[in-house]
Symmetry: C2
Subunit: 410 residues, 2 copies
């Protein structure tokens, strides 16, 4: 049975899939210091201010700004040192006009004081007296209460992907636990009578499973929990049973199809039979990766990926990763790692198709060049030799040597 | 005591540090499917070929190429179908002149056959006969044994950072375990009498620890094992004891200094006292992050980071991450995630200093703009609001609005 594709663009394919994924996944309460790369499932409100006291940003003297007005090298202000503010503690000291107190960076600006004079703009006269040679304005060199974060402020919105500084900031606010979306479970099914488990002795005609492991790693990188159902033979009933089990266990089911057209057709038939709304897209205008199937069954994506490793990677990146983030409620996933580079050879393409070419990056005269690694798209060695994939946009008939391309880095 | 800096450039600082880190860390044998983002500690040789049999890249017929020579629409070659090659198995079939066998993509090209004719270039005449309307050359539509990976070939070099496709390829070669460098242990010490644990009730004058958690996450992202020794008071003996314990436990010691100059000086004194060769750099021409200390003690880096969160992030990224990869024996660490963008405002700098400005990214008319998020460098909120840091190179006195900058993404 020949495949009847109504091919759609990669963006359209993703749009159709995401339009069916509106229900948020459950959330769970976790320790903040274990929440790196998780996604907040609700707004995080600051319950306290940062800083919680006026802090000096300089080493110097806490002063009453008015006392320094008009001070200069020629006509310094002479002020009375009444003590030193300890780090990490409040102080009973309270400034009156004409008085200053020694303060360290990060120390409290005590009652009465409204600014800090840098130590560089002072001169010690005696144990109790300094000269100030430059005036300060009220608030100068002071971080006021809440200047960093105000009490009651939205510190993080819902759907925020947590980075190192977010974790640090939450801890800085004393928020040691928070609600995040559960990690979506991505169930991975490999099909193909020719596919064997890597641990097993290879018999003639078999190849070892590659895609289960590549996809597992890609799912991990995206913050999902990968679950493999192993290798399913080219049998409609067996594949359907596995897919149904996947839908029960997981939030997304990814089927890595066998290489033959008949297996791909069977995979399509199985996906079509699983439930509503069913197949949304069969065929994406992308190379490699055209024979991709996007379906949704009871709110869960079921993605049929082509069997060759490169196609599987390209499509996982384009379709499955955004679906994972959508399920976690993240509207602003981390940007894909990419770079601009000049293309090392002419590369032909077909308008109306997005092409991905595996490239190695080389630095030449301070510029980054993307040198295509030519090879069949179903060879793993080209993927291992490559640093990334150069993208030839949908509307181009090719890219000339020396032109700039965007390279999605591995 | 004022600090006496002999400031060096960020590149020179890193070079000095790495020149002392030549001993490789120990290696360990791990399961390949658990080795994502680890670094190979020795070459990986392919012990078998990929594919291990000649594979068809098309659905069609295995043929003897010679039998198709001269075939055309007008004058097809009539060939005798002797059977179908099963997927995933060898076949007893053996072609003689004039014979073909049906084959699927990924199926074995059997003995006697030397090419595959695509099904599209054939016509079924009867159950036993096809017409071939286009000739094929020997080897056409066939991946030969070892075309992907040859037996005995170096599949991965030592010091290779393992990506999803590398894991897939290793499994495809039946390499289910491999040797990787142990994850370096990064010991994190926070100092400062003003720093409190996030779990504790905050007393006046204290701020909660941010850097321990930010640095822990950055170390995790780089593939290291973070170990926190907690918050050490501003006491020479206590800090020295902690640093010595860190050197025993860890491969890298990172001290996040308190904010005051006196604490920073004490941190410098402690680092100087730990052993040989000791302090290599005290002061880096980078903003924020100048008061950074780089030392090596008995082959282990000891890094004194400034206390404010932004400086700590910038310097960790520049200095500690490359050191982690060097210890793992990785000469080609994953590229930093960065993007080109147009700067949203004029930003002044000083020639001879690398400046980092926190920016938000915005798309405007198909271009990415980097809009500076202004704020004190010791505010965590600016880091949380920012998408990355725009870099103003060492030799520039600033960058004009609309000029292109490289943004290191968080």
């Amino acid at each position: 049975m020949p495949e009847l594709f109504t091919v759609v663009t990669p963006d359209e394919a993703l749009k159709r899939l995401l339009s069916h994924l509106n229900a948020a996944i459950e959330s769970e309460n976790v320790k903040t210091n274990m929440a790196l790369a998780r996604v907040t499932s609700e707004e995080v409100i600051a319950e306290s201010a940062l800083p919680s006291f006026p802090r000096s940003t300089m080493d110097g003297y806490a002063v009453i700004a008015h006392d320094t007005y008009g001070a200069s090298e020629g006509l310094p202000a002479y002020l009375n040192v009444v003590g030193e503010i300890p780090m990490g503690r409040s102080s009973d000291l309270k400034l009156k006009r004409g008085q200053v107190a020694k303060v360290h960076t990060g120390g409290m600006v005590i009652e009465g004081a409204d600014a800090v004079v840098m130590v560089e703009n002072t001169q010690q006269v005696d144990a109790k007296t300094i000269e100030v040679v430059r005036p300060v304005a009220p608030g100068e060199n002071v971080i006021q209460i809440g200047d960093d974060v105000k009490t009651g402020e939205v510190f993080l919105t819902a759907g925020h992907w947590l980075r190192p500084q977010d974790i640090g900031g939450l801890m800085g606010l004393g928020i040691t636990r928070l609600w995040v979306s559960r990690r979506p479970r991505v169930v991975i099914i490999s099909t193909g009578d020719e596919v064997a488990a890597p641990e097993d002795k290879l018999t003639p005609g078999k190849i070892r499973d590659i895609n289960t492991y590549t996809i597992t790693c890609l799912a991990l990188q995206a913050g999902a929990v990968p679950l493999s159902l192993g290798i399913i033979p080219d049998d409609y009933g067996a594949l359907k049973a596995a897919a149904e089990r996947g839908l029960e266990m997981g939030d997304i089911v990814v089927i890595s199809a066998g290489s033959s057209v008949s297996t791909r057709d069977m995979t399509a038939d199985v996906i079509s039979s699983l439930g509503e709304p069913g197949v949304l897209v069969h065929g994406v205008s992308i190379k490699p990766g055209k024979p991709t199937i996007l379906a949704v069954v009871d709110g869960k994506p079921v993605i049929g990926l082509p069997g060759n490793p490169v196609s599987a990677m390209v499509l996982f990146d384009h379709i499955v990763v955004p679906a994972i983030f959508r399920l976690m409620g993240c509207d602003k996933p981390p940007r894909r790692q990419s770079t601009q580079a000049r293309l090392g050879h002419n590369v032909a393409s077909i308008p109306g198709r997005e092409d991905y070419v595996q490239v190695k990056l080389e630095e030449r005269d301070g510029e980054t060049w993307a040198i295509p690694v030519f090879g069949e798209s179903n060879l793993i060695a080209t993927l291992v030799k490559a640093d990334g994939m150069a993208m030839i946009p949908l509307d181009k008939s090719g890219i000339n040597q020396g032109d700039y391309v965007t390279v999605r880095l591995f």
